[in-house]
Symmetry: C2
Subunit: 185 residues, 2 copies
DNA sequence: AATTTAGTGTTATAATATATCATTGCATCG
DNA sequence: CGATGCAATGATATATTATAACACTAAATT
């Protein structure tokens, strides 16, 4: 409920402060921490499932977690090449398939782009908010949305399997800064 | 929310019977009638707005309304060519842009495909159910879904502009016929 | 070590979508 | 009516996103 405010400076940086404030990260949050967390989760998940978190997979996961902006497959490819890795589109798509299969990243159908998931593992039903100004994406798992969809679908005799909910709009920061330049991202 | 039943034979064909039964059309419905209705609506809308419903636009709209299955841009292109029309991808995409701009068709981002809209005009917020077995798509405009999304977004300080809701699953018919062959479409 | 399987490299191509400029056709105005 | 302007279409080229198929390597299993 609390609006994201630029005045929330990370100084007394409790871990929780970054996690529970809402789906969008604070603009001033410690992103290195996000990345570290993403890797701990990925490592734990792969260990549990006896999966191989190879160098390539780590590299791709890292690139995706460079920001909270969805990354296109060919953007990822370019970054891999910059890092000296010989890579082709297949390299990227195969790796993304692996990461998606295990819930470590999601694909945004409305943008043909990929974004990291901060609670991988369970095959959850999530929704995405994507700011059309700064490009930031946030994931929610709101049961009221899921339920509303399931109920409406059921009324049509339809059995839901894979709901896609991707909402374009303006994030709190960009609403506040409305009118100013659009190069936040 | 009466289930769709094959026993609804079109004989005493009230206009309403086809329209209000739910988002999915009856499998035995009079589809010619759907097409006619789609064209009356398109003609009325274009007349109202002083738009030109040209031959090309009619052709594309007709192709899209050949069924309730989303059609890919290149499928539409192929059909146009079959009809003797000289056409290139641009032809199709331009025409689709026009039809979408005026709400006559919608694009399904999760399928890169286009489907006719049976209540064009208002810039409505609709949701789509797409059967993964028979491929049929149905449009809903359920305010509970729209509201749930808006409320959840607002809690994140996010202002909704364009919600994309596209649900894959099984339609009533395909749930009923579950286990049988999957060539309904 | 031999075998098997998962992962990656590589090349080619498919599928979807847009940019740009030329041409045609329709509407309107003088 | 013909000149003018603009909307629509034609046509060519190219960008962007994604997959197929096969060869090779590395890791796990025996």
């Amino acid at each position: 409920m609390r609006p994201v405010m630029r005045s929330d400076i990370p100084g007394e940086k409790t871990v929780a402060a970054e996690a529970i404030s809402g789906p969008f990260p604070d603009p001033a949050h410690d992103h290195e921490h996000c990345i570290e967390e993403a890797f701990s989760r990925a490592e734990r998940l792969c260990a549990d499932r006896r999966l191989r978190l190879t160098t390539l997979r780590r590299e791709v996961l890292k690139i995706i977690w460079e920001g909270h902006h969805p990354a296109g497959a060919y953007d990822i490819l370019d970054r891999l090449k910059e890092q000296g890795r010989s890579a082709a589109p297949m390299t990227v798509y195969r790796t993304l398939d692996f990461l998606m299969e295990h819930g470590l990243v999601h694909r945004l159908a409305s943008r043909n782009a990929f974004v990291g998931c901060d609670h991988p593992g369970d095959h959850h039903r999530s929704q995405f908010l994507v700011c059309k100004n700064c490009g930031m994406a946030a994931e929610m798992a709101d049961p009221r949305i899921t339920d509303a969809i399931r109920v409406a679908a059921a009324a049509a005799g339809f059995a839901v399997e894979a709901p896609v909910v991707e909402v374009t709009g303006l994030c709190g920061d960009c609403v506040s800064n409305a009118g100013s330049i659009s190069d936040e991202g």
